[in-house]
Symmetry: C2
Subunit: 780 residues, 2 copies
């Protein structure tokens, strides 16, 4: 979700698949070696290039600009933009591809020399602050590692990260005193009043600890740190840049001096002096949401120096990326492995080593028997990111996600599952209760290790909490009325899908009454569908559709969420066949899909709306509502049309370059789409246990599943010319269906596509060969 | 410390002692019945009339005004002023007699009717808000209980308190809906930006919990609450009065409605609805510094309804006040018992029932084997309050104070003992390191139950922390130089005294090296004493005294702390004899004491200075530096002059009326002075184990000591006329000394004064009969 339309992006160069497998003269590089962390750090991706361990709590990455007053903050949501000429510092926390700004906690910057600026300075005026210019060619990054030569600071900076720690290494050019600036004001983004409170202290053993409580995207988010430099301090200064503080009480030992052992306030910056160093300075920093002792314990739990941590994290990445072995030309290899890399960052570890974490109620809880994860971008990730993680991460990790969601529901002041949570805090971003399909999909695909009955109860409770998002009206009327609640059309259809997943899980648990209730609710999408115009539309509480109606309009607080009727009318993933019948049948559905993809946008201007990027007509690949839509042709019996659209989308929306993502990566969803699509199938309706077959983009892929079995995809004859699926076999037998069952996938085996230059207009066209639809399945 | 000079107060009516014991026809009321909690709630006392248990964490008391923009906030430091015509609400936390404003947490006000105002309104405009008029005659208070009839609210309000809980009882006039307003904005005092963060939620079981983090006198103080009403809510509203919030993120279920289960922000107010009630509404509230679960556990730890809690706390007060049995006319009984009551509030319990508390580093700690107490107004209370508590409270309580101080030092980012701490937070108010004499005095008087070696180490560390209060200069030069550090003269002499107590404790522990170091430092008062003018003066770092010099000048940031040369020149309690020699001998010292008491202030104006109240010439009883000074005549061999001055002070500075304290009670110090003085002796130099004998103001007193023994004071023949001590016997034998030894006191026995109308000019005049002086004792 959330990415600005940039017209220039519609000119993205298409992938060239022409070189094919012939160029692979030597053994291809490993998955690890194929990742390019710079992909998505320009353009619309909002990725960061810094160091992170798989699902790590720390994302240690350069910030090129954190201030919102200089330029739009939206493009700097991850702190870094590839094209920026200066680096302001290195901070410990970043979202991978979010459309909203926050984090950027605990920015550190090396400064060399006798004068230590305490302000970042203006990027346009060299040496006006502690920020430094750098040469692009000096930058290098690989999973868990980032390095750059800072020209003004005359320092080589390297970053690596463990699970709860980040390690910085600075090689100062000899001959002048070395310092670090720790700017507790800096945030993504920085604005007056964001820091509610902060503190920093030097402990007798030299450990520097502190905290910051910020009001940003998340309210009153508290984060603590513990920092240990490899060299002793030769001096320090703690400064408070607050100008006017009413009745702040008396000052302590810091009165009139800046070398006190502790300082607290709302605009702190610290100078740490190291004198003349004869070896690189390493700075190890750990985080905790609990307290400073928690941060210290986390620091102690991951011993070793920079190189040791870097090697450990590299091994973790090699293992995590190693579950997928693909043969493909280098550009596609890079894109897919980087996509997999981007899929393995969130939800991220959030509890301390002792299990404690700060939850949605701002209280400290302890995760007993699991690791609490946070950063759930659920409106995005229920679609393909979580389904992908079920295939590439251990059951334990997936169960931990669900236990984290359930623990959050238990601690929620509202008694409901997370909506968009990070660092344990609810942000109420986007719509729906999409923790529900994440849990249902995992349960139906066999994930255990959590209390399924309690999970179902939490799901039902989340779907029944009246004050949330017009749910009381939805439960009364069968749809969300637009005169009572904004974005009502989008909410109605997303609730209906979520309800269907509750019903599916209830059936699996033998709870017939719950299942019946939610099977009925699953049909509520019909209440907002206008058969006359053929669009999903917002209804008023009196039952009429809201007028005037413009299916191309995109506005905040409108009938739709980050989109319009063109994109949202397709959101019936659980009952696409019924929706097509309402449209007038398969031919009409295909005509409408084509009308969307082929729409002439020349008279439209969406520059006012964020997150509208990656347009193909009225299809918007840069935002999630469109993500399943190219796969819908198959539901109308024309899978070759899906194959055409996927060719068009992959070729125009992904590139192995910094501006290579056409929309926000959204904590892995954009990337997970590519991983699935490259393999030739996609989870259109999580909860159905079906993957709709598209077309593969790699010559061969071997997926080592969490159960240890291997599932191989072969795309025989794949080339730019052979872009259509001619034949499909599963384990040597023809697969006449347009979908793969989850049970077939996890049993291991080989899915073989025979590619050809022309469409196969007979494969998987029969009604019985089409993917899941609730109505076809006998529900309603 | 800290109280404004009000000229009207110099007209305080003197005590009439004329009625004598003859009026006591029936058994006198108990100590409990003699307490008048309204004493000190007008005038300069800054006391509160509300409900508190001995040393309780909760002080549940009415606030008549909390806003600083309407009138000066200083007079409302305890929230309540006796003369105010309206009550704004009842809040859970108050200082008893502080000169600085903070607390006032979690204000609740009953509202009756269909319209519920959410603003307090203007006292001058009835019914302009939720505040209510009340009739003075409807008010009643006794230890642990307060009640008032609220006219506008048509509700009888009663308050009681346990250790960590407060209970409110509201009897709404029937016939209209009952509500409570919980105003999370209200504080002592309230100003924009004070609340850093706050939240409130209703839990599924009906418990209301929340928190507030404020930046007031203490920085970033966090306090949590749990509230249980006796009747179920029929509705509620949570509101946020913040006007402009940059980038606050999305809103949750509260969007567009006010009945969500939770709200967080910086300006919250809650409306709680109870409908038509047919019985009184009781509201039980517990506090915690740790988290909401801590508050809930504290709530559960003190079961029972309003009447049960009230009875339990009454019994606790009867026991605490019962250690002192006095015979005296009613006004003096009331004054002394109320003084004892005021002495038994702080330091107050701060850890939760499970031992956890938030310490000076803002981290959560656990008190193992003791109860953590906070609210240490040490600059005030080291003088007489802590010495009194050693005589009237169990050793365990006194040991807990010291363990709390030591735990605070351990958690201090600066590694030093508290200076002025409340709610676990350091405020850096006033000067000195007066935790040191508190610990030394307790140890030398036999209190055990803490690690004495660790305590001495903490004391030495506190006295050696260079960045604090010019200590690095003090250690280098032997005095604090005024060109480097403000209030240097006061600091020099207070450090010297504190140093002497370190030396005393080190000697007792056999640490000769530490003792020698600090015995030397104890003489540093000489370095700031100007023999030529006969005054303590501030020196520059070049050794010269600062000019110009005006011994009557009182200014902030001057050479002295809340005082001038007249008051501060007497602060050598540990070596008064040497100081008198510097002044030119006993006669010169007496002349100077008289010059101070008899000074003509008619040409001076101290209205700009707070805490300058209770003036007798240049003697200022309303502030602490003077408290020992009337006792100094005895050090010059003229104890009858002390007796005269005490008669003058007691008669002019204390009354059993709301305006009956001439200065801030300062967490019991003003009151403890009266308790000691009424008994006939005073701890001029805590650490000396001597009590200097003055003159008694009660006919008879029996003190039950912590060791179970009884010490009786008899003032034979006491009357307004018989104001001089004629004869003193201890256990029947003449006591020729002007002081009592602690060992003699705790052994139990009888101290009998025979009072007479004329001075006895021969008793206790010999040099050997005079109280402790370090130089006389052979030190230095």
């Amino acid at each position: 979700m959330i990415a600005s339309f940039r017209r220039t992006l519609s000119a993205l160069a298409a992938f060239s698949l022409a070189t094919g497998p012939l160029v692979a003269q030597t053994a291809p590089p490993s998955g690890y070696a194929s990742v390019d962390p710079f992909i998505g750090t320009g353009g619309e991706g909002h990725s960061f290039p810094g160091a992170v361990a798989p699902f790590g709590m720390v994302q240690l990455s350069p910030d090129t600009d954190t201030r919102c007053e200089i330029r739009a903050c939206y493009p700097h949501a991850a702190g870094y933009r590839y094209e920026d000429p200066t680096i302001q510092g290195f901070s410990m926390t970043h979202f991978s591809g979010a459309g909203h700004s926050d984090l950027g906690d605990f920015l550190v910057m090396p400064v060399r020399g006798d004068v230590v600026p305490l302000e970042p300075g203006d990027p346009a005026t060299p040496r006006s602050g502690y920020r430094s210019r750098y040469a692009k060619q000096s930058e290098t990054a690989s999973p868990g590692y980032y390095a750059v030569q800072l020209d003004d600071a005359q320092t080589r900076a390297e970053m690596t990260a463990g699970t709860r720690i980040g390690v910085q290494r600075y090689r100062f050019t000899p001959g002048a005193p070395a310092h670090l600036v720790l700017d507790l004001r800096s945030a993504l983004y920085t604005y007056p009043g964001k820091t509610l409170w902060s503190s920093v202290r030097i402990r007798p053993d030299g450990t520097i600890t502190g905290m910051r409580e910020t009001r940003g995207w998340a309210p009153a988010r508290k984060l603590y740190f513990a920092m240990r430099p490899s060299a002793p301090l030769t001096g320090h200064g703690f400064f408070n840049a607050e100008e006017k503080v009413p009745y702040k009480g008396f000052q302590g030992p810091s009165r009139g001096r800046d070398d006190a052992a502790q300082l607290a306030g709302r605009a702190l910056v610290a100078r740490l002096d190291f004198g003349l160093l004869d070896r690189p300075l390493e700075v190890k920093v750990a985080l905790s949401s609990v307290d400073e002792d928690g941060a210290i314990a986390n620091l102690d739990s991951e011993p070793g120096d920079f190189d040791a941590i870097r090697a450990r994290t590299r091994a973790a990445w090699e293992a995590a990326l190693g579950v997928l072995q693909i043969d493909a030309p280098a550009p596609m290899r890079t894109s897919v492995y980087t996509a997999l890399y981007h899929s393995l960052m969130a939800p991220s570890v959030f509890s301390d080593t002792d299990g404690r974490y700060r939850g949605p109620d701002d209280q400290v809880h302890r995760a007993e028997g699991f690791t609490f994860h946070s950063t759930f971008s659920l409106w995005d990730t229920f679609r393909a990111e979580h389904p992908l993680l079920l295939l590439v991460q251990p059951e334990r990790r997936n169960a931990d996600f669900i236990r984290s969601l359930l623990a959050s529901q238990q601690a929620s002041p509202f008694g409901i599952l997370p909506v968009w949570q990070f660092h344990g805090r609810e942000t109420w971003t986007m719509i729906g209760y999409h923790a529900v399909p994440v849990i249902a999909d995992a349960y139906l695909k066999g994930v255990r290790g959590f209390d399924a009955d309690a999970a179902l109860a939490a799901m039902v409770q989340s779907a029944s909490y009246g004050p949330y998002g017009g749910l009381d009206w939805y439960m009364r009327l069968g749809y969300v009325p637009i005169d009572k609640e904004p974005e009502a059309a989008s909410k109605t259809v997303e609730y209906a899908y979520d309800d269907w997943t509750i019903a599916r899980m209830a059936r699996a648990l033998g709870k017939a009454d719950v299942a019946a209730t939610f099977e009925k609710r699953a049909g509520n999408w019909r209440n907002s569908f206008d058969a006359k115009t053929g669009f999903l539309r917002a209804r008023l509480s009196d039952g009429s559709f809201r007028e005037p109606f413009d299916p191309t309009a995109i506005n905040y607080g409108s009938d739709y969420t980050e989109g319009n009727a063109w994109q949202y009318s397709w959101f019936v993933p659980h009952d696409q066949a019924a929706m097509f019948r309402l449209l007038g049948g398969d031919a009409a559905a295909v005509r409408k899909l084509d009308a969307m993809f082929d729409f002439d946008n020349s008279k439209l201007d969406y520059s006012h709306a964020e997150d509208i990027a990656g347009l193909i007509g009225q299809y918007i690949h840069g935002n999630e509502p469109s993500h399943h839509v190219a796969y819908l042709y198959g539901f109308a019996g024309q899978p070759w049309r899906t194959q055409e659209r996927l060719t068009q989308i992959v070729g125009s929306q992904y590139k192995p370059t910094p501006d290579g993502l056409s929309g926000n990566d959204d904590l892995g969803q954009m990337s997970a789409w590519l991983v699935f699509t490259a393999l030739g199938f996609y989870p259109v309706a999580p909860g159905s246990n079906q993957y709709v077959i598209g077309r593969p983009f790699v010559d061969r892929a071997v997926l080592t599943l969490p159960n240890g079995k291997r599932f191989t995809v072969v795309a025989s004859g794949l080339s730019d010319a052979n872009r259509y699926v001619g034949k499909v076999t599963l384990n040597g037998r023809p697969l006449p269906r347009g979908y793969l069952r989850h049970e077939e996938l996890v049993a291991g085996g080989e899915l073989r596509f025979t590619m050809q230059p022309r469409p196969n207009r007979s494969w998987a066209t029969a009604r019985a060969a089409r993917p899941y639809s609730a109505s076809a399945a006998g529900v309603r």
